[in-house]
């Protein structure tokens, strides 16, 4: 596809409900990122995948948040037992950057963002 796509674009959930948010990255992009953006704030990092490997999940706010990318392309962010404080826009981004072993980056590249999923928890 031409860009990163996310679905659904809007999700309303009742408190306690589980939700699943989908991200389709740009074809061929190795790296995939999830961010959470609260109203009036900048995006905050949640987690990062290189292919199917989740290399960093330090930004996930609690164990209710889980992300996966089983085949190294599409990713799903799942939030269990949603709370009102989970209300935010969830952004997915992909990039072609990848890391050599040892942590040296080949190229610090641009991240391309999807339109986001606006989650409202009532």
């Amino acid at each position: 596809g031409a860009g990163v796509s996310q679905s659904p674009r809007y999700k309303v959930a009742k408190r306690g409900q589980d939700v699943a948010l989908r991200c389709d990255p740009i074809s061929g992009h190795v790296s995939l990122f999830w961010y959470q953006q609260a109203l009036g704030q900048g995006p905050e990092f949640l987690t990062y995948f290189q292919n199917e490997a989740q290399l960093d999940k330090s930004g996930l706010p609690s164990d209710r948040f889980f992300a996966e990318r089983p085949e190294g392309s599409v990713s799903t962010l799942k939030i269990q037992r949603t709370q009102q404080e989970d209300s935010a826009v969830y952004l997915c981004a992909s990039s072609s950057t990848y890391l050599f072993t040892g942590g040296q980056s080949l190229n610090t590249d641009t991240q391309y963002f999807g339109p986001g999923t606006r989650l409202t928890v009532l």
Partner: protein, 109 residues
């Protein structure tokens, strides 16, 4: 947590005027990126400046970087109503981006 700080938080100008937004950051960087976000198009990458660069241009955009002061500025020349958006600086890239809170720019026709 957010490490960048944009200044001002909000800016309102007339069409045709120039807009300058500043960004300060705390840790050393490999590069700094600027993004624009509006309700119509989501978060869009504008420009990336590397730590060994001091100035970069892209169309009506000019970005400067002063690593000694840990600051960057974004200048939009001859602003248009369509430039109305929130602008964010972000450090990082290969692993994660750390964004500031953004500057909300309003360009009045």
């Amino acid at each position: 947590s957010q490490q960048g700080e944009e200044d001002p938080q909000a800016l309102s100008i007339q069409e045709g005027e120039n807009a300058t937004m500043n960004c300060s950051y705390k840790t050393s960087i490999n590069n700094l990126q600027w993004y624009r976000q509006n309700s119509g198009r989501g978060l869009v990458h504008l420009i990336l400046i590397r730590s060994n660069e001091r100035e970069k241009h892209s169309g009506r955009l000019r970005v400067t970087l002063d690593t000694s002061k840990k600051s960057s500025s974004l200048l939009i020349t001859a602003s248009r109503a369509a430039d109305t958006a929130s602008y964010f600086c972000a450090q990082g890239g290969s692993e994660k981006l750390v964004f500031g809170k953004g500057t909300k720019l309003t360009v009045n026709p």
